[in-house]
């Protein structure tokens, strides 16, 4: 089962890709050639913060609640894409800019093999 993920940035850019229901959104993005910032890859550091605009997710493993909150106001604001999987089509406003990589067919094959 797959869901459509849409990433928006603060300057009106967007990108769309699909994600399997058991796959971390950061991995699906990588497979699609969309590289978001990942540091700990363990739901703790907040590098992969994104604001969910619509849709729904669940988490593959525990994540640090503190990193879901706005540091100033303390309000719930972010989801952590390194451990989030979609449960329906979902749209995110990504906190930090992503990088696009144009993959050659061979690289695509390799990426799929590795995920």
């Amino acid at each position: 089962m797959q869901h459509q993920i849409t990433f928006l940035d603060t300057r009106g850019g967007s990108v769309r890709f699909s994600c399997r229901t058991e796959q971390a959104i950061s991995r699906a993005a990588e497979e699609a050639g969309v590289l978001i910032r990942i540091a700990c890859d363990n739901g703790g550091c907040g590098a992969c913060q994104a604001e969910m605009q619509s849709g729904a997710i669940r988490y593959l493993a525990p994540i640090s609640e503190k990193q879901r909150r706005d540091r100033r106001s303390g309000e719930l604001r972010y989801e952590l894409l390194c451990r989030a999987v979609p449960t329906e089509d979902t749209t995110f406003l990504i906190r930090r800019p992503w990088r696009r990589i144009n993959r050659q067919p061979m690289s695509n094959l390799l990426a799929q093999l590795q995920n």
Binding site: A39, C40, G46, A47, I63, S64, E65
Partner: protein, 306 residues
Amino acid sequence: MALTRFGYASLQVMDVDAAARHYVDIVGLRETDRVDGKVYLQAKDNQDHHCIILNPSDSAGLESIGFKVNDPADLDNAAAAAEAAGANVTRIAANEIAGQGEGVQITLPSTHLLTLYYHADKIGYACGMENPDPVGSTETGGKVNHLDHCLISAENPAEVTEFLVKVLDFGQSERAMDPGGNMMISFLFCGNTMHDLALGPGPNGHLHHLAFMVDDRGDVVRGVDLLKEKGVPTFDYGLSRHGIGGVQTVYFHDPSGNRNEFFSGAYVTPGIPDRVPPITWTMDHLTRGAFYYENAVPETFFDETT
């Protein structure tokens, strides 16, 4: 007053069992105790009850850091000095923290909790206390000797540095200054090597990394191999060298995202704290100071703290 060593870090983790497995299988610590859901661990070359405490929590981060003092009377002296400097100070009873005598808990200007204590229950070295084998087990995780230092983040590293130097007699070995003359990074010591506690820019109360010392470069390389083999997420660079301190290093993350470091080669700090002038790094050389080989600092380096 004399602080003698960085004793322990009390960490918040979302999954205590996963964290305990990480600190045993990857870092190579010994699990020494489990009390009230908390796990206590110690490295092979330290006789004290713990150098890591794992606390179940809904978030990753640092609960407190502990430093040992040289004399029981230092606890009262430190408490009085910290109170006189305007810090919040509370007392900790013996065994309120398992395996540990009475202590004094000081809130730093960066909101971090610093616990001072004199007594720790003795569990002995991993090699045993009688007729030991000089070679540690070749089978356990990273070949970590001891927990060596931590880097914590602060909105105002200069203010925290001043407190630690003036009130608690830390010395400063190195620092990085921005073009406006503000101290951005500060390396402080109370023991024999160049950093026991370091401060970097970032949110108050957060942890940047906890560093575990291994013997030499070979053990850092072996550590990188272990991390890769076990699929532990590492920082952007694998094996590198810091210009600051000149140490060989690799960063990785525990299962809650708290950053760890294997490193070797910290130089010995001679002399009396505050009598040895610190090395200064300017911003135009900081990329080399942070990562000597790459001469670059990824944005993720200071941004992501727990």
